[in-house]
């Protein structure tokens, strides 16, 4: 057991738990944040993606020990931002949401990408989304959504 202090969706948290727990389980089981999903459990699908210090990580592959003093933002926290509104509207407009299981992860990936690069090329978008598997859309409509967000989100990033 260890005391792990970190920021979660803007609030300071400290929990006394086994540091070998996966961040994903801590988020879902201890904080009831079920937006991050378990798809593959091995860092392949990105459904569990969250932001750690503003960058996308797979919460199924992050031990809680590595979250010490970090800033974690899940889709629940991110959905309270203006950037989220822009990305969400873009996903709606492009038709980028089908079953929705990959969607929170896709939105986190979009944020992580646009945060570094507001005007990504098609190729950069594909790289940015390459760790998020979607079985429904064939990706084009999601790529389109990222393009729309990058266009309409000027000034926010």
């Amino acid at each position: 057991m260890a005391k792990i202090k970190f920021k979660l969706n803007g609030e300071l948290k400290e929990i006394d738990t086994d540091p070998s727990r996966r961040l994903l389980d801590v988020l879902r089981d201890d904080f009831n944040l079920t937006g991050p999903k378990e798809g593959c459990g091995e860092g392949e699908c990105g459904a569990c993606a969250v932001l750690m210090n503003q960058e996308i990580v797979n919460s199924c592959s992050v031990p809680l020990a590595n979250v010490l003093d970090k800033e974690i933002v899940t889709i629940e926290g991110f959905s309270k931002t203006k950037r989220y509104e822009v990305i969400k509207d873009a996903f709606a407009k492009a038709g980028g949401v089908q079953c929705g299981f990959c969607t929170p992860g896709m939105i986190i990936a979009t944020e992580s990408l646009l945060n570094k690069n507001l005007n990504p090329t098609d190729f950069e978008i594909k790289i940015g989304l390459s760790g998020n598997l979607c079985r429904c859309t064939g990706y084009n409509l999601i790529i389109e959504a990222v393009k729309i967000a990058s266009k309409t989100g000027e000034g926010l990033w």
Binding site: D18, P19, R28, E38, M52, S61, G131
Partner: protein, 280 residues
């Protein structure tokens, strides 16, 4: 339940290693998957664990005249974005896994994992990379090629930690990395190949080839490369068939769920041929 240690400094870390028999976890992207049991269950480590990713001293990248030094807790993304790092390695990292993994996985982790399919090992072998190993009482540097002993086997004592990956500064006329994966990103390689050379007035001053996922560890044969040094490009190109025969005995891949040995072998040799044909 196993014990976990979360040192914040290198000194603290080495002291723990001196006293306890622990498994070292950096980014965790491989270790968590290898030891995972079920959703909502702690990772099923069978021994005590030390998490080193909170040690900030190990997150530096710097250089001197001879080498570039990469701290063992630098994420792949940090390395990829740092201009001190040789482009061959940066290009390789871009083809590894995905952004989310690159933000947490480390180069030292890839080395410590010693998987035959570890992509970063291919350019590191080619670049004659070294690793710095520390314990509470010693520091040593060892060539990567000697450090990796086989599939998931490394030359690291219980009380030691990889602290840096050290890359000699080399000049090449051209270098090349090709990952052959089952898809275009986010996948484990079927095979990979790296090549580099330096020409002066059409004479080969230096030439190197490295092959991944076709033997227990990366295939790099300095003694074969040396046979080509000092020769003209035309001469080396004439020797292609012969060179392929030299490498034949070292490229001994296996069949698995990702590919088969015929493909791995054929394509490795084709990439070598194509690389030599394109020297100019």
């Amino acid at each position: 339940m196993v014990n976990s240690y979360l040192p914040l400094t290198l000194e603290e870390c080495l002291e723990i290693l001196a006293k306890h028999d622990v498994k070292i976890v950096a980014g965790g992207t491989d270790m968590l998957i290898q030891n995972r049991s079920h959703t909502s269950m702690s990772i099923g480590f069978k021994s005590d664990v030390i998490y080193i990713s909170n040690i900030n001293e190990l997150k530096r990248i710097y250089e001197d005249d001879m080498f570039v030094y990469i701290g063992s807790c630098c994420s792949l993304e940090m390395i990829m974005e740092n201009e001190l790092v040789p482009s061959l390695l940066r290009d390789t990292i871009l083809e590894m896994a995905s952004p989310a993994i690159r933000h947490t996985a480390t180069l030292a982790g890839n080395i410590g994992n010693a998987s035959p399919a570890g992509d970063s090992l291919v350019p590191l072998y080619l670049l004659d990379a070294l690793v710095e190993i520390r314990s509470a009482s010693s520091v040593r540097r060892v060539a990567l090629i000697d450090f990796i002993k086989g599939v998931r086997k490394i030359d690291l004592s219980k009380n030691e930690l990889i602290t840096e990956v050290i890359i000699p500064k080399l000049k090449f006329s051209d270098c090349y990395f090709k990952k052959v994966g089952p898809r275009l990103s986010d996948a484990i390689s079927k095979l990979s190949f790296a090549g580099a050379y330096r020409l002066e007035s059409n004479i080969i001053e230096d030439i190197r080839f490295a092959f991944g996922a076709v033997n227990v560890s990366v295939v790099r044969r300095r003694e074969l490369e040396e046979r080509l040094i000092g020769k003209t490009v035309t001469k080396v190109k004439e020797m292609i068939d012969e060179i392929l025969v030299w490498y034949d005995e070292f490229i001994i891949p296996i069949d698995d769920q990702r590919s088969n040995k015929e493909y791995r072998k054929n394509i490795s040799l084709k990439l070598l041929r194509s690389f030599i044909e394109n020297i100019e």
